[in-house]
């Protein structure tokens, strides 16, 4: 177990180094990063000044070492567009909002996928099973931006039940209202949650079906145990192991989906900050956003792997 943890930690560190290298290289893809960093109307002298101020006239390797020196302190330089703020300031304000949205979306998706997946497996080829599979197929086929647009149309524009976008009431009237943020959270988290629900339903169903065909389930049934007891105590526990790994992967999918969802609903998260920064050519902010989210993903995967090792006795006791 200890050996597994150490190997996994070393692996994570190497991946983070690679991630930082790609974040660094993003700026150099075009050949001359100065083009991305200066205003279009800047003269040659201003370009030169910016170049030497940011150390871009030095060799690339030296620049990378310098960049890495900053990365350890989450220092990606100053934001070009937002005066007086560092790139990390901009990202760290948005990060909790993205985590809030992704967590709510994960809860929404689990609340839907677990019941449908388990019932589909337990009552195979029943009405619920067929409904669940059609639901999963449609969910996989409708892109998240279309779903979001339709939800806004129905629930915000036509019915007027929920706000169309943002995180708080833009008129600033409801500052003391506790339900202001949750109200704004409903549509984005359902949209984002459904994005991963389809795959989860399929996975939970097939994982349950596999477990249900095992001998020990037949034994449990032969003992005369109730169906619910067999499902809950014998089957679900064993089916959970592969599901947990995929939940980690789903969180990454959610972070990707969040980029689009945040832009549909103007949710002030990292994805929206990143797309805005790209449009404004604010590259330090882009680097900070990409690196932070990737780092978060590496850490989540590390935790999931360790949890998996703990839950799986075959690894725990080896």
């Amino acid at each position: 177990m200890l050996k597994f943890i150490i190997r996994r930690l070393v692996q994570a560190i190497f991946v983070i180094i690679g991630v930082s290298f790609i974040s660094f290289m993003l700026l150099h893809l075009t050949g001359d990063p100065v083009d991305l960093l200066v205003p279009l109307d800047a003269g040659p002298q201003a370009r030169q000044e910016i170049k030497s101020a940011l150390g871009l006239d030095k060799p690339v390797l030296e620049q990378y070492v310098r960049f890495m020196g900053g990365v350890w302190k989450f220092d990606f330089g100053r934001s070009i567009f937002q005066a007086g703020k560092t790139a990390m300031d901009v990202v760290s304000v948005a990060l909790p909002n993205t985590i809030l949205l992704s967590a709510c979306a994960l809860i929404v998706s689990l609340l839907i996928s677990f019941p449908i997946g388990i019932i589909s497996a337990a009552r195979r080829n029943s009405f619920i099973d067929r409904f669940g599979m059609i639901f999963a197929l449609l969910g996989q086929s409708i892109p998240v931006f279309l779903l979001g647009t339709i939800f806004v149309w129905i629930f915000a524009v036509n019915l007027g039940w929920l706000p169309t976008d943002g995180m708080r009431d833009s008129r600033g009237q409801n500052l003391d209202d506790f339900w202001d943020v949750p109200r704004h959270l409903i549509l984005p988290s359902i949209t984002l949650g459904l994005f991963v629900t389809a795959r989860q339903v399929r996975l939970i169903r097939s994982s349950m079906l596999e477990v249900l065909s095992q001998d020990y389930i037949r034994t449990a049934r032969a003992k005369g145990l109730w169906q619910t007891v067999v499902i809950r105590r014998h089957a679900l526990k064993n089916a959970l192991i592969p599901i947990i790994t995929v939940l980690g992967l789903d969180f990454a999918t959610l972070l990707s989906g969040a980029v689009i969802t945040e832009n549909i609903f103007s949710w002030p998260g990292v994805g929206r900050v990143a797309v805005e920064a790209i449009n404004q050519h604010d590259f330090p902010v882009v680097q900070a956003a990409v690196f932070t989210v990737a780092l978060g993903y590496v850490l989540i995967n590390l935790v999931v792997d360790l949890l998996y090792a703990y839950l799986n006795p075959r690894i725990r006791f080896s």
């Binding site: 690679g18 993003l26 599979m133 996989q140 892109p143 149309w153 689009i260 989210v293 993903y297």
Partner: protein, 319 residues
């Protein structure tokens, strides 16, 4: 979901000449096209894909109009099913069967020409990323050791980035356009192939036929590409199909964010994005392209499910 009936209900009597058939316990499997005809969902998927392909190939015969040209005199035309337009929309004109958007771009022309982008982008991306992934997967699985570690490290790095954020950042740095889109998507999509090919190669390399090929003195390259690769093609076909669906959605999403294809190229995702705020007055403007994307992806998923059942009967237990 309907599953293919694998066995015929009536066991046909074996022809008397064949000894082998007499001994066979299993009823004979029907040919693939016969099974396909009994599978309505797969047929539906194939028909959708054929229509999309037809649109893409014969776009210029299906409409005389230029999909990206603004014809302001045709702006806000309603589609054929609306007889009395409201909210300042213009009356139907047979020239624009599905109407035109606020810039006077014909909806029908955008739908048929728009079918080209997903086919080109997804087709080439799957081809390139598949090739990269297969080669890396074969190398990692066959040679193991440091090469396997290196390729595993590379794939972990690629997987660590929120896919769409990385694509957006690279497109923003390189600039928009179909070529850049294909490059970026290929560089970030090879991991799934590499992983599958690696794990299958790890098993195959221990098999007798590989041992035999080695004993005969074949070179590694011949063993990898002539003996191991043909054995992983079926899994690759299935993954490739689902990847096509994923790439189409990604392209549409990028176009939705304004980072996909150029302004001068017709694209479903871009047409949807350009018209998303018209939902309240002219719901068909964003929903028609949305439906086109969803149906195409649905068609691919149905075909992918069918291929998976065809190629790997074992999977039928779980799907």
């Amino acid at each position: 979901m309907a599953t293919v009936k694998r066995t015929s209900p009536v066991i046909s009597p074996p022809p008397p000449t064949s000894k082998l058939a007499e001994m066979s316990v299993l009823p004979r499997r029907k040919p693939w096209w016969s099974r396909l005809l009994r599978n309505p969902t797969a047929l539906f998927g194939i028909i959708i894909l054929l229509i999309v392909l037809f649109f893409a190939v014969f776009a210029s015969f299906l409409t005389p109009l230029d999909p990206v040209k603004n014809t302001l005199s045709d702006a806000k035309r309603v589609p054929f099913w609306i007889s009395s337009p409201e909210n300042g929309l213009r009356a139907f004109n047979p020239k624009n069967p599905l109407g035109a958007d606020y810039n006077g771009r014909d909806v029908w022309a955008n739908m048929v020409y728009g079918a080209r982008v997903p086919i080109i982008v997804a087709g080439l991306t799957v081809l390139f990323s598949g090739t990269i992934g297969v080669v890396l997967g074969l190398l990692a699985g066959y040679y193991k050791g440091w090469l396997d570690d290196l390729i595993g490290w590379l794939s972990n790095i690629v997987l660590s980035f929120p896919f769409i954020l990385l694509v957006i950042a690279v497109v923003a740095a390189l600039g928009q356009g179909i070529t850049n889109l294909i490059i970026v998507l290929s560089m970030t999509s090879w991991v799934v192939y590499a992983r599958i090919v690696r794990s299958e190669t790890l098993v195959l390399r221990e098999k007798e036929f590989v041992e035999a090929a080695k004993a005969v003195g074949l070179r590694d390259r011949a063993i990898l590409f002539k003996h191991i690769l043909p054995n992983v093609v079926t899994s690759l076909t299935v993954i490739g199909t689902f990847e096509v669906a994923r790439i189409i959605v990604t392209e549409a999403a990028l176009s939705y964010l304004g980072l996909g294809v150029e302004r001068t190229t017709a694209s479903w995702g871009k047409f949807l994005a350009d018209n998303k705020d018209k939902l309240t007055v002219a719901w068909w403007l964003p929903l028609i392209p949305g439906l086109a994307i969803s149906l195409t992806v649905l068609g691919i998923n149905l075909v992918g499910d069918w291929l998976r059942e065809e190629f790997d009967p074992r999977l039928n237990i779980n799907s």
